[in-house]
Amino acid sequence: MAATAFRTHHLSRQDRIIASVFPPPNFTTPTPETTPNIGLLASPGRPFGGFNVTLPVVDDAIRFNRAWSTVTRFLSLPIHGAFEKERQHVSPDIEDAMSQLCQHPRVRDDLLAWYANETGVHFSKYVLPKLSSWELPVPRSEAHSLLAKTIGLLGEAQEYYLREPSALLEKTSDPSRDAAYQDFQIRTIEGLHVRVRQSLPLPRLQDTMASLFYQQMKDSLRENGNPELCLNRKECQCSLDVELLLLVQLHETGLGGALGERAFAQAVHSILKKAAIERRCFQVDWSEQTTVMPMLRSWIETYVTPFVNRSLAALTGNCAPKMSEMDAARFASIAVANLGRRRTAAIFDYVKSWPASTSAFLDIQEYLACMPHDKVHVCDSFIKQAKTRLLHAGASTTEILSIYANVIHSFRLLDARGVLLEKVAHPLRSYLRGRDDTVAIIAASFLADVGPDGHLINADSEEVCADISNEVANSALNAMDNEHKTLRYDDMNWVPDPIDAGPDFKASKSEDVLAYVLGLFDPEDFIKEVTTVLAQHLLQASDPEYVKEIRLVELFKSRLDATKLQAAEVMLKDVHDSVNLNKRINPAKGAHTEPPTPREIQAGIPDEGTTLQSLYTRYQGRIKPAQFHAALKLVAIKRQDLYFAKRTRLPPETPRTPIPAATTSNDRLDFRVQVLSSFFWPQMRANDFALPPDFQEREQGFRQAFARLRNQRKLHFRHALARVDMKLELEDRTIEEKDVPVWRASVINALAAPDWEADHDDSSETTAERLMSHLEMDEELVLDALAFWAAERIIYQPLPNSGHYAILERLDMDVPTPHPTSTHPTESQQRHKSQQHQDATAGPAMLSSALITSQTSLLHDNAPMFQAFIANMLRNGAAKEVGGMMGITGMLRMVLPAFTFGEAETAWLLEGMEGRGEVRRSGEAWSVV
């Protein structure tokens, strides 16, 4: 009765409701022996009553009650002590009673339920309080001890509860009863296990077990592993292990089974996710550039799968829980996917270090082959990493471009058809399009010189992207030849269009980096920019064959619209023609006594062709006719008795000793002219000024010769573009300057020969103003020249800061000056002072190399017209702001495509107009006065 009272006392309201429908089992305590069946009184008389009564009269119910009472008394557990009941002797009485009860399955079930209740009460009273640590989160360090304690406690309790039933089992000899008792015992254990699992917090238990397993596996990996050996053998031999005894015990105390399996699976999952693949054995193979994935698969097959089998056998008690082939394969694919994800997490770094990181991409490739759905993940990871690490103002455009080139290579490795590449390249491309200097850098990179080791020669790494230059150097001109791939039926590499491509995917015709780089921009914009860079390059090129430039133009022609490259072609032809023209107009007198080289002959052939005879007359005396014929055949083709120059590249010649240019200033001026077709070249500097006297004559001579040769066409000289090599002979030293802009020569020439200043008092000193008026030269150029020569210590200011210059004939004449250019006293120069200061620091080189009219000077030159547009716009429309879609800048760009400037320039124009009182601003809006 005590048990029922105990139970009802604790019933909650909800329990009571359930109890009203499903009455709880009502267990009795065994009938105490203090009210024993005292039997019959020994009566002297005969019992009263009828005849032939069999005595004693004990009916079934009483007998059952007695048996129940006997057995339950035997089995009952002490309420007041934990495990202190001493072992009882199994008396025949008990045995009989037990065998009687076990005869009926229903009764047996009742007895089982009673015993389960008995053990349950005992368990919750004495065992459970000792396991109270499970109520709180278990620190990892205590996991092992707590689990061991739990196992010990549960094992003890289990043994205790089974002591009486097993004693019964030992006693019996009847096989039928034996089976019944065994069944009783097993079911008791099962019931106990259920109770254990119900009373402990399972998720925590599972997590603790998982973490313990994980820890043990990790430790075993560390102890058994020998990465060096594995790396050498190209096979990982690190084995996994956990304490098998622990697993067996867990199984025995009811913590194995499904719970244990889950915990174990969790641990294996974690180990495959982190510890196993992060080991040295599976690091990116930087040296051999191969993937580690096969190694990983074989490791899983040889070490992990058997280990899992072994452990599961211990944990479930099942001797051979053979994993199916598919499960084993799944382990491998999980490991591969985890390793792939790990590589993906650092994919940006791998792209950056391409091609050293090829193996990492091979790994990712394997991973994607195994998990095709993770392609999106790979792309997203890269885009995310690129956005945070690359696509911001801190990264230079050349850096982004070189990463773009790497992206193209690396993602083409991942997916040869370019679907992934399309996905990841998109953010990069749109970002690059947004950068102002991208086109210029690409164009410059195309023209940059690359050394044999792949390094740039003479190039600023901020303005030239070495990767692109290398690509250009290595790319094939005929990359577009295999355009009609689908038409080739014998193409063994043909693949159908990918199924995961976007709707706008089209198989790109040419698939190298250049195609992608060129595809960044609208071809027209690109061609425009390339033309500008090419123009500058051609004007400065020293190679008279223009090999590189020809190759480049051919490259563009093969990849871009050939018709749009007309300007570039004309430019090339111009410089070529100029070389020939110079040879014909200014044959270097008397210089040639050695035989002419084929190259020279080629240059001598006029465009309209020539006969062998007329050509030979020019080289007579220098070469024999037979030799000449052979040389001519090399460089020219014959059509109808006329020879035309071949447009092929010639083998390099040994450089001749260059003819010293302008050795003595008067007699031998090596004068070469580039004739350019103005329409096809970008706008160039047009400053005009007086040249040194000899040049004037030569120029005139050339002009006439040209008119004679070229059908009376007129030449317009661009003096600002000319460059000279010069030699200055001073009193104490001789200085040679190469490739100097001619305005500097004019200035130094004027300073050196001051006869024009005879009317002035101080004939040896000259100011910038006098030079300007004498040479009719722009102030900008004069100041540049003065700054240049002062920096070279050719001229100096006799009185510091006086603005007067004189030739520094001897170095010891120099007076230290604080700064040669910042000291111009006059008003007009004060105005330019700040601008000049920049010139002095970055100026000379910049000014001399900028042959093409800069955007700024374009703006300045056209300012009056732009301002007329603005004035008219404001007069005929409402007041407008500078920015915005309907703002002044936007309108100007719309109606005037020549206006390619931004809001800052518009504001500059407006300020100029405001200064003249043409417009006024109110707030942000501008209107006419």
Partner: protein
């Protein structure tokens, strides 16, 4: 190279065609845009005194214009605002020109419509005198001279035609009473353009 800017101005034809895909670019075919761009360039580079015109917004086929009244006429020193809308087959059809400034004139009606032969489609069987050789500048010039020399044979405003012949002083008074300078118009909430 000398007239390089001239070449730049005509070269944009390809730009005009290309930019039609630009969302801010109006509908209208490339030829009209090209022609209007070159007209605008001419207007800007060789301006006629007293005349000015400019596209009103990003739609290059709608322009606003400003005309100053000719001297020695009742309209002297007055500023007139006009709008010009070019059809898609311009220059084969004339632009539609309207006075936005209220004008008292025999050939201009109350809503600013102008009766002028060159503003009507020309060609055989048509009464108008528009021809493709005319342009914005010549249209504005004609309108400017129309102010000083009304065609009283076909008036839209009969009263003005009568008054022009009879009483110039009264006429001028009426002109000034009707006229509003652009600033006044804006104050009165009238639009001066598109």
């Amino acid at each position: 190279m000398a007239n390089s800017f001239g070449t730049m101005a005509t070269a944009p034809s390809s730009h005009g065609a290309k930019n039609t895909s630009n969302p801010t670019r109006p509908t209208g075919n490339g030829n009209v845009v090209k022609r209007l761009q070159s007209e605008l360039m001419t207007l800007m580079t060789s301006p006629t005194p007293g005349l000015s015109a400019f596209p009103s917004n990003t739609d290059i086929t709608k322009w606003n214009a400003t005309v100053t009244g000719p001297t020695d006429t009742p309209y002297a020193d007055l500023t007139f605002k006009l709008t010009l809308a070019y059809p898609s087959n311009y220059p084969y059809a004339p632009p539609e020109v309207l006075f936005k400034t209220p004008v008292y004139h025999p050939n201009v009606d109350m809503s600013g419509r102008i009766c002028l032969d060159i503003l009507k489609p020309g060609g055989q069987g048509k009464e108008g005198a528009w021809s493709a050789v005319l342009n914005t500048s010549s249209v504005l010039l004609s309108i400017q001279s129309l102010l000083g020399e009304p065609n009283n044979a076909s008036p839209l405003n009969g009263e003005a035609a009568l008054l022009w012949d009879r009483d110039q002083a009264e006429y001028k008074k009426k002109v000034l009473a009707r006229h509003q300078e652009p600033a006044e118009m804006e104050e009165n909430g009238l639009s001066t353009g598109f």
